[in-house]
């Protein structure tokens, strides 16, 4: 998570978790952070379709009452359903590995 120029410890302030149905990303303690114009959140993920649907909730820190809510539908232009991920990884060529004889 990044606030303009400063990266934060992701495991303290931005955590992904699976609730049994959906994957979520939760940002903690944003009000007490050095808030200016917003945040950049980077998520390392795998995708299953070219249309990504997600909902954002802004909640009070004391009792999880939702104050703001927005839903988004985003087209991932670079998603290519015809491409495949290699099923096996190739091993390093042993002759270039030090201490290998």
């Amino acid at each position: 998570m990044k606030n303009n120029t400063q990266y934060l410890n992701t495991m303290e302030t931005c955590q992904p978790y699976y609730d049994g149905t959906y994957w979520n990303v939760k940002l903690y303690d944003v009000a007490n952070s050095d808030l200016t114009t917003g945040w950049w959140i980077q998520i390392f993920a795998t995708f299953s379709a070219s249309t990504l649907v997600y909902t954002s909730y802004v909640m009070a820190s004391n009792n999880l009452v939702v104050e703001f809510q927005n839903s988004y539908t985003v087209t991932l232009g670079a998603y290519n359903a015809t491409r495949t991920v290699p099923s096996t990884l190739s091993w390093l060529n042993n002759k270039y590995v030090p201490i290998y004889f």
Partner: protein
């Protein structure tokens, strides 16, 4: 309330006792309670805990003459404000980061998704509303977050 004599106040108990001049039968007395604020969403439990009723007891010479209960609306009547915290869909970063941009990625491959959360609310207001957490729930198109 300023035109009436306040006899006793306990803000912890939310009780106010004041004297009003005697009036003839059928003459009304207007009681204005001003400077009321709607609760913020984080105050929902406090609002419900304090009861949603206003009870007014009428006394004459220390003897209870009448009692009326006025109900405040339930918390559910309040509606959400237009969101001032959102993910900016017009910002170029709200997509997959792939380099060069002409590259495509395969289903199931790990990629970085960057989202831009923006605030149209100043920090003073956010603190007043006790807004502390943001949650993003992916309901379609995403398999796994690493």
């Amino acid at each position: 309330m300023g035109t009436y004599q306040i006899l006793w106040v306990n803000v912890k108990l939310n009780k106010f006792v004041f004297a009003i001049p005697k009036k003839g039968n059928g003459a009304s007395t207007t009681l204005n309670i001003t400077s009321l604020n709607n609760p913020y969403p984080y105050q929902q439990s406090l609002y419900n805990f304090n009861s949603t009723n206003i009870i007014i007891n009428f006394y004459n010479n220390y003897f209870l003459q009448n009692k009326q209960t006025f109900s405040q609306p339930s918390f559910s009547i309040f509606t959400k404000n237009p969101s001032t915290v959102y993910i900016n869909q017009n910002f170029p970063c709200n997509t997959i980061d792939n380099y060069p941009s002409s590259n495509t990625f395969a289903p199931g491959s790990l990629n970085i998704l960057t989202l831009n959360v923006e605030f149209d609310e100043n920090q003073t207001t956010i603190l007043a509303r006790n807004l502390g957490n943001i949650m993003i729930t992916f309901t379609a198109g995403l398999n796994f977050i690493k």
